[in-house]
Symmetry: C2
Subunit: 184 residues, 2 copies
DNA sequence: TGAAAATGAGACATCAATGTGTCATTCTCG
DNA sequence: CGAGAATGACACATTGATGTCTCATTTTCA
């Protein structure tokens, strides 16, 4: 029970704070189907919950990202797999990146995931699967933006999950142009 | 002076709330280089400032979008122009769309801009410039996401403004793939 | 079953943000 | 210049979120 409750609170915090960081602890407790008393037993201060949610979100992304990479042959394959994993953890992505400065200086803020993805991107550029005349930083931003957009489309029932993943990967690689106009 | 002060407060509110909606009125007053007293004279309650900022952001987007459309020949041209205009008003875009539910039910919340862009998108699909096998809703989401990403890249000095616009439009139409792999 | 753990309910105290006033100072413009 | 508008600097009350505590109830597990 102990772990289940903690998990419910963290999930609720990430789900709510990913959309609105001003959500109160009362809101989170309600979402987690837990009393505010219990929430305070697990996380005595608001900041403690922020830190734990941050650590949990980072861990989830790393964990799922790791799993997604098995069996990939090219760097582009890896990016597609990471995008799928990111969409499946849309709340965590959104929570981490909705405000790039929110966690600046927080010891639990870990940019290694950024570094990992950037590595895959530069590798994909070297392999010729990703345009080499655009900065990796821009590509990383597009990568996360499309994950966000796909997660949002799923959450609002605009697209089924599998369709959202396909369309996001396709948009990432080829854009939404018809394809018959000359690429740059 | 009266109008200038009001404008400074609205700009500060949009700039701060676009990144962090929990920013306090004190933060906004400081950013606007104005005392909290003055802020309260212009906007007696927090909600009044929220409403005014919302109305101002909507108006700015509509106004700049309108201006951007002159001289466009194709619907794809219009989308490119709208994207440029959006990036130039990145704070307003971000403020309006960072939380799609924040302004639900607010009388100043106007979805007509959404409708306008959706119209251009379907027109572009009919003209053959935009893929017709993807939902307009998805394309709209990608459109705004790339505006956000470009505005963020500019704000963090990763890309100069003109370069960000170019790269965003190109990504919108052709993605970040190298282009020599078969498009869908 | 029965003790220990976990939880819920609620009464507080505290604190930061917000809202409301007053008064002095600065500025704008006739 | 000088009156009126605009602003800044406070003091203060209010409010909602947060943090702390106690006690009753429920759940878990040996």
């Amino acid at each position: 029970m102990r772990q289940r409750t903690r998990r419910a609170i963290l999930d609720a915090a990430i789900a709510l704070w990913s959309r609105d960081f001003s959500a109160s602890l009362g809101d989170i407790a309600e979402r987690a189907a837990v009393s505010r008393s219990t929430l305070h037993r697990y996380f005595p201060e608001r900041q403690a919950l922020v830190d734990a949610a941050l650590a949990e979100a980072v861990a989830a992304i790393e964990r799922e990202g790791e799993k997604a990479l098995v069996g990939c042959r090219t760097a582009v394959d890896e990016l597609s797999a990471l995008m799928r994993a990111g969409i499946d953890n849309g709340d965590a992505i959104l929570f981490l990146f909705s405000d790039p400065n929110r966690f600046a200086g927080n010891p639990y803020w870990d940019e290694s995931e950024d570094e990992d993805v950037l590595g895959v991107i530069t590798r994909a550029q070297a392999e010729g699967g990703i345009a080499a005349d655009v900065t990796p930083g821009w590509i990383l931003g597009v990568f996360y933006s499309l994950i966000y957009t796909a997660a949002e489309a799923i959450a609002s029932d605009q697209l089924p999950r599998h369709r959202a993943v396909d369309v996001a990967v396709r948009t990432f690689l080829h854009g939404v142009g018809s394809g018959d106009s000359g690429a740059h």
